[in-house]
Every structure is written in structure tokens, then in C-alpha cells.
Amino acid sequence: MTTVIRTTALNKIYEGAFRGQDVHALKDLDLDIRQGEIFGYLGPNGSGKTTTIKMLLGLLFPTSGKIEILGSESIDSATVKRNIGYLPEGAYYPDFLRGEEILAYYGKLYGLRGKELKKRVDETIELVGMQHARKRLLRGYSKGMRQRIGLAQALISDPKILILDEPTTGLDPIARKEIRDLLLQLREQGITLLISSHELLEVEMISDRVAILFEGVLQKIGSMAELLTQRELSMTVDHLSESSVSDLTDKGIQVEDRTGNRAVLRLPFHMSSYDGVEMCKAHSLNLLSISPRRETLEELFVRIVSTASKAREVVQ
């Protein structure tokens, strides 16, 4: 699969007013984003996600390292920029313009004119499902509608790469689902999507690969299948007593969703299903079900960030 975005040893240092106040926002970042995939770019606040995106767009300049987009290192060239659509987080769109006027404005910035511009505006509005409100002023738009128009302005040039910063933040569940479906539809059309988000469930549902960043350092990168392979066993048991709970907890078993004598037990990675059955026998528990459980992206994220955070504390 062709790589459409590649960064090599990318560094960004924000210079402070005084010596020693510099912030190393990005450290030797090596990323490769492949054609036609949805790439989730994750990290806590201040981890360097937006810095990376801004550097890809030429809004910030790298301190060192290399950026290649669509095989070109001149990321500021019109040819490269024509193929990138960008939706920033919480951008403002003027209230006094109509939906279609906003798109026409951004279309003109891509050099579209006349019939070609009108065609693209029509296509994009239809794509984001805003035909009904295209002639309405933006002041009458809901948050979800504004986000759709934001997405439409990013799509107006029919780009090969779409960079989205928090595309579903602040939206209601229905609007989220609609945006999610739209992103999947765009992937089907061959567009590469780079999504930076804190909505881990959303990212898990649609991403092909993810990268997790912490304090400017890439901690993990890979496909969902590669990253979320660790499986543990989940057992639903009955006849659970207080003494059994403390004994199980001592063995590293997590007791969850307890209602009366019934609970769900999460076994640690090293315990097999045979060990689980033996344990039930030993504690006279009634085993109702046993199933493997895959780690969620949220759990992986928390685990990686906690590990990186602890490692930093040790170094300090």
C-alpha cells in the first residue's frame, strides 16, 4: 500500500523567552500513513498531535526532520495543498454567510471558478447531507450542521487526504453516527483520513491503524488487530462470598458488576480458562459463562499513557 504521508525524525521545539524554557513538543517522530486508510492519531492534551497536523499543513515549521506528502517534500506547493482537506477543531465560520456561500468561498481559494465551482459545491453539499440548509444563514445552523459544513469545506477540492481535528467533539450521538458513517463512506471512495481525536470509542470503531503519542514521543503505532491482541478471560459467576472476593482480589482477579452473589470476574493475562474453572471449583463458585475479552482502545490508551508517565517519573 502506498504511503501518502511520511514523517522522518520530525522534531519541533517551541523556543521559550529565556534559556531553559524551550518546549520539545515533538521528538523524532516517524509516521507513515497509507493510502485509503483511516488513521487515528491519539494522545492526551499537549502530546503533540495538533503540532504534527499543523506541520503537515505548513502552518508550523519543523525544527528538524522531514515531511513527505504524496511523495513530495515541498508540502507548501499548490499541487500538494490542492490534495489536502483540513477540518480544524472548533473553527468559526461566519454567521452572515449561507452554507453554499461558505463553500463557494473556500472553493475559490482552491482556484475553482464558474461551473466547476458550482458542481463541486453541489456535490459536496449533497455528500455531507446539507441540501436542505444550503441557502440558510449559518447563524441558524446547529453545532452538527456547522461541523458538516466544516467537513464540506475540507472536501470542496475533492482531496486525496483529509485531516480532521476532533471531528465529533461536542456533537450529539446521532450527529456523531452520521459523521462516522460519512467518514467511512469517504474511505470507501479512496480518501485517506487522518483523525486526531479524544473520542477513543469513535476512533476504535472506524480506524484501520492508530498511533499513540505521549509528550511528543510516539509510543505505539499499528493496526487495531496488532495493538488490541491481548485477550483476557471474563467469567460470570454466582454464589460469590465476601471471603472469596478478597481471596480472588489477592490473586489479581478483578471483580466487576457485582449484584448480590453474582459478579463478572476478569482474569489476568497469565490465567487460562482451565485455571479459571479450577478456581471456581476451589471457591465453590457456580460458573455461568466464560468468554475471551479483547482490550479496548481506551484501555490500551490508558495503559500506554500510564506506563509512559511512570517511566518519565522514574527518569526524573
Partner: protein, 276 residues
Amino acid sequence: MTFLSSVFGGPWCIAVYTYREGIRRKLLIGFLILSLFVIFGSSFISSFLDPSAETDIDLKLIKDICVTAIAIFGALITVYISASVVPAEMETKVIYTVLSKPVRRVQYLLGKFQGIQLIILVNLLLMGGLFFIALYMRQGIMPTLLLWSIFLTYFEFLIISAFTFAVSCAATSPLVPTLGGLFIYITANLTEYLKDVEHRAGQTGQFFDNLIGKIASALYSILPNLQNFSIKMQIVNGQPNDPPTDVLIPWLVLYSLVYALAGFSCAYLVFRRKEV
């Protein structure tokens, strides 16, 4: 044609957007309404004058108030809009959506600057237009001198806006460029005094006096002399259809364009590698 539209199409599109967004700003509308109110209200002031006074003193007063109102409110509008356009786009993140498109930074600045000029021109024409009508109705003579005055005032504002715009490109909020713009406007209207300060300071021979003299001399050399653009006294005392005297209009236009180009170049130098 394609080349021209690709080079200038983007900036013009940004200019129109800037204009449409700018003219809706409440503070700007406030300045404009206030100035129109002063121009309109000046006609009533003459009714309070002593009837035995000089016959055309009321007209002189009206002209004086109106020309001053246009100069002051026009300068405030110029400084405010030039200082706030770029920082406001940074604050609202609109700049990200524009600079991520195939728009070069110089094109972006050109578009913003053109939009600012459109706003200044429209405001100046509204204020000047009202004064023009009032004067014509009062005297029944076409006040062509006023048209020259408005023309020159625009070129005066072009200089202020270019330098305020340059400061705004380095700033993150409109406060510093607003103060900078007002400083330029005031000092550039007082350059004759700077010359005077230079002469007086040099007479004592003391260190601080010499220093002040050198600073005054440097400011006098660098700053434009905006008094060159004023034909207020001629408007107040002369006939409305007199030709402008003591001013070389083509030279003033060139003078203004050179300063505006310098200001815009400073803006580009600052913004070229600015991290947004």
C-alpha cells in the same frame, strides 16, 4: 488570464470576504454612526452662534468640525480595522482553513490588505459623501475641493493602515497594533514638531539633549509627514470649488504608495515565517 486569476483571484476572494466580515463589526459601525452624527449635527451648531458675528463664520465652523470628524473617526476606523483583521482570524482559527488551502502567505496578506482598503474607502466615502451633500445644499456650489481632500485623506489612511497592519501581523491580539497605529498616526502628524525638538535639543550640547535630538531626528527621517495630506485650512477658508493649492497631488500619491509598500513589505517579512 488563468495565470492572473490564479495569482490575484485568491487575494480578491479573501478581500471580499474580509470586507463583508469587517463592515459588520459593531465597533466600526459605532465609529461610523458617531462620525455621521457629528457631521449631520454640525449644521445645528451654527444656530447657536451670535447673529452679529462674521457672516460666514458658521459655515467655517461646520467645515472645520466636519473635516476634523472625518480625519479623526476615519483614522480610528483605519487603525481599528487594520489592527484587528489578522489577529481575529488567528483567534477564530479561520486562518488555518485558509492557509491550509493553496494560498500563499503573500496572497493571504494581499487579500486581507485589499479588504481593509475596501472598508476604509467605503467608510470614507460615506462620511465624505454626507459632508459633500451638506456643503452643496448649503452653498449651492459643487465642493470639488472636498473631493480632493477625501482623495488625499484616503492616501494618508493608506500609510497608517499599512504600518498598523504590519504590527498586527506580528501580534496575537489587536491591542498592541491598535496602540502602534495610534502612535504612528499621532507622531506622523507631529513631524514638524520633531524637527523643532531636534533643533532645540542640539543647542545645549548636553548628553541627554543630544540623545533626544538624535531620536527626534531619526523619527523625523523615518516617519511620514501626514500633515502634507491635509488641505483643511484651504477647505475652511477657501471657496468650495477652488483647486487645491500648495500640494503636489501626484507626488503625495507616490509618497503614500512608497510608504504603503514599505509597510506591506514589513508585514510580509514578519508573516512569511510566522507560526500560526
